[in-house]
Symmetry: C2
Subunit: 118 residues, 2 copies
Amino acid sequence: METDVYAKNCPSRQVLDRIGDAWSVLIVSSLKDGSLRYTELAQRINGVSPKMLTQTLRGLERDGIVTRTVHAVVPPRVDYALTTLGRSLLGLCNALQDWAELHIGDVLDAREAYDSRP
Amino acid sequence: METDVYAKNCPSRQVLDRIGDAWSVLIVSSLKDGSLRYTELAQRINGVSPKMLTQTLRGLERDGIVTRTVHAVVPPRVDYALTTLGRSLLGLCNALQDWAELHIGDVLDAREAYDSRP
DNA sequence: CGGCATCCCCCGGGATACTG
DNA sequence: CAGTATCCCGGGGGATGCCG
């Protein structure tokens, strides 16, 4: 198959969009040690609205990156976990966060220098 | 410094946003072999509007990831190149694209399966 | 050639309230 | 508890037109 991310209509662009989505990255990273419930994800990921959490989880499920397991109990319980495909993303997500935490200082310095220019 | 990407107001979130931006990834990758002119970038990156190209380049420059060099000639010539900080991103960008090109098939299959479910 | 500036539209996404 | 439904707003981002 022809996969050129520079091409406008290449589906790999959509993959970039998904991975690029900040919520996706945070969700995948949160699930690295095992499954979590909906509420646990919501607490863990500071600032995500229920709408975006659900929406992103549905997208990840559709893309075969997470599984959604409903337990028939009261109160309801829904677990989310990574698939094999999802686990293959962990290295990337970790690298992303590592870079961010390692170079955030440089970036902030560069911004300050840029903004204080005539 | 406290760097927790799960925290709402952590600046590393902004780094995630920048790297997550599809245009940023494509620009950084395009510059891996050396500097390019504005028009060359526009041609290389299919589907980007002038506005977004300029805007993204400004953001990358502000964040210390690319340099912008204006040559005083007619017609004008502006070269963009990666900084050291920008070059440190190359591994990440390549990994991102590699993953996309490697797993795009799995993702598309998962989507089809998901969409054709009752 | 390499941009800003402006207009304008559309929808991403937050807040809130309600259900199985 | 785990969502859906609804409303609503800001701004992302395309198109177009003008400068140095």
